[in-house]
Amino acid sequence: MKKQKAILFDVTLCAGCGECYNACKEANHLPETADDFLKDHLSANTYTVVEEYGDVYTRKMCMHCVDPTCVSVCPVGAMEKTELGPVIYDADKCLGCRYCMQACPHHIPRYEWNKINPKVKKCIMCYERVKNGMQTTCAEACPTGATLFGDRDELIKIAQERLSSDPETYYQKIYGLEEAGGTNVLIISPVPFDQLGFAENLPKEALPTYTAKALEKIPGVVAGGGAFLAAMYWLTKRKNQIAAEEKQNKLNSISGDEK
């Protein structure tokens, strides 16, 4: 297995300049959606945003989960977790059931609501670039190094070093290390993550394990249910037959008596 690529975003380093936002728009050929990029939000035409919380800035984008909920729920496998880490989407397979949007724990996928042929839209971690050994366009554009691109295990090491070398500055947690089974976008911050609009109530295990528990019962229901129903059918049928035969015998014996 190849090394999983990831993004580390350090809130303390972000200057709120919006270069990542602009680079993302350009790379994905997305139209302009707001006069002030700080007031924009994720949409079918915006894959990443920079948000202002008091005197700090944070980014929002697809977290590229290690075991993505969207990939597990999609009935036709239109969402795919690539070996390199990015979670990508195949619009040709998609039916538009929007279960990915309903299920995403980070509330990321967006929809082209006003199109006749709508697609699900979200950050795909510049998959084409990453496949060719390049870094994501947002990491490349970042002038302060707040957005770093690299191997996931190495970025985790960097984050851990920053947290331990400067405990005064950093809130002691790497967001994405184990949220819903972990993500390929990691965030470190000076403030608790719920203050930056990140979900803090996520379980540690990956969400697909919740449905897996129900799905793995199917073979048992089919086999056990089939055997049970067939047995019930045979038993009750036999019981009815015996009852009918007894009745017949009674009738016969009565008519026999008459003769």
């Binding site: 597990s72 729920v73 009935p75 299920a103 449905t211 067939a230 019930m232 009750t236």
Partner: protein, 389 residues
């Protein structure tokens, strides 16, 4: 001479208005997309068309497999007169669910992709396959009714021989996807209001569908009796009514025990809109009908039986909307209410379903059938034996 211009009645006028409005909403949906026709958004991607057209539609069609299991697998023959109306309801119900899905899917023309692109980890994938297969099963279960009409005896006797296999397949497929509709929500534990989230959602969905599906049989029998003057034996219906409320009560008890085991009891004493909706759901859907139908005198009264079945169905509807819409509301921070187009399409589907039921029941031996003939035989045999004794 047949009359070609139908008589104008109140319900016909209402039905026509509903269908015309529904067609206009259909036009908006397929020319402007989901955004132009619904109140759905990135914050609230599933609405009335999933909550009602799919969850309620499939759930209320559960009478089909329940009655089939009773009459054809457990061989409790006396309920046989209920089989055909129940199968017809289920068949039409599933056709409407698929029809409704065409509105809700962003790319309805890709609906067949579930056949070629597989993702066995997805609950939705399992539901898609079960619904496809079960609709086929329902068609096969309905087929003898059509064959009888056209007097295709050879095919009919073949169908009878394979009948039991089809019936068992149908019951298993139904058990799987009725519960899986609940499993759909297992994956959003952090998004749902805890009164409705539970690891047992699949079980709740199955039990409540069996209970409410049975009362649908009562509801329909009453409507059909009014429409066709073909009364179904009141005794059978009142027993079905009793069984359905017992099943529902059992479901409620499991739910309350689960509340206790998962430390959610305090939520029942937290006063807010969610608690109120929860109480409304269990009162209308289970407690009141249970209190009524447990009494012999009341369940043998046609009007009370009918009223109770309407209560159960309303409570069931509320439960499915609570699970799919109400419970998601606090996590999304949006107050979703369906648009006029979502409502009009849903009303149109219900109207079309009732209309199709009426047409088919008029033209095919759904109520009057060989079953009645068999019963006549049985009565005759009994009388014979009695006279002999």
């Amino acid at each position: 001479m047949k009359q070609f211009i139908p008589k104008i009645t109140f319900w016909r006028v209402v039905a026509t208005i509903i269908v015309v409005a529904g067609l206009y909403s259909t036009y908006l949906r397929f020319t402007g997309g989901l955004g132009a026709s619904t109140n759905l958004s990135d914050d609230f991607p599933w609405g009335l068309w999933i909550g009602f057209d799919i969850l309620v539609g499939v759930g209320l069609a559960a009478g089909g497999f329940t009655i089939c299991a009773i009459t054809h697998i457990f061989n409790i023959e006396k309920y046989k007169p209920l089989t055909r109306p129940a199968i017809l309801t289920a068949f039409l119900g599933y056709l409407l669910v698929i029809f409704g899905l065409m509105y809700d899917l962003g790319k309805p023309y890709n609906i067949w992709h579930a056949i070629i692109y597989w993702n066995p980890r997805s609950v939705m994938f399992e539901v898609a396959w079960c619904v496809m297969l079960y609709t086929t099963v329902l068609f096969l279960e309905f087929l003898p009714i059509a064959l009888e009409k056209f007097r295709l005896k050879k095919l009919l006797s073949f169908m009878k021989k394979t009948g039991i296999l089809i019936m068992i397949t149908g019951v298993i497929l139904s058990t799987l996807h009725q519960s899986s509709l609940g499993s759909l929500f297992l994956i959003v534990p952090q998004k749902m209001y805890p009164l409705w989230y539970s690891g047992l959602l699949p079980l709740y969905f199955f039990i409540s569908a069996v209970g409410a599906g049975l009362t649908m049989v009562i509801f329909e029998a009453y409507l059909s009796a009014r429409a066709f003057n073909k009364g179904i034996e009141a005794d059978l219906l009142s027993r079905i009514g009793l069984y359905s409320v017992i099943v529902l009560m059992l479901g409620l008890i499991i739910r309350l025990v689960d509340f206790f085991l998962t430390d959610k009891i305090h939520l029942l004493f937290t006063i807010n809109n969610y608690t109120l909706l929860f109480y409304l759901e269990i009162l209308v859907g289970t407690l009141v009908p249970f209190g009524l139908l447990i009494q012999k005198r009341i369940r043998e009264n046609r009007r009370w039986l009918y009223a109770s079945s309407i209560m159960v169905i309303s409570g069931f509807l509320l439960n499915r909307l609570n699970v799919s819409i109400t419970s998601i509301t606090p996590a999304t921070g949006v107050n979703y209410f369906p648009s006029i187009n979502e409502i009009s399409v849903t009303l149109m589907l219900v109207t079309l379903g009732m209309w199709a039921f009426k047409i088919i029941a008029r033209n095919f031996p759904v109520f009057a059938s060989e079953v009645h003939y068999e019963n006549h035989q049985l009565n005759f045999d009994q009388k014979l034996s009695e006279s002999n004794l």
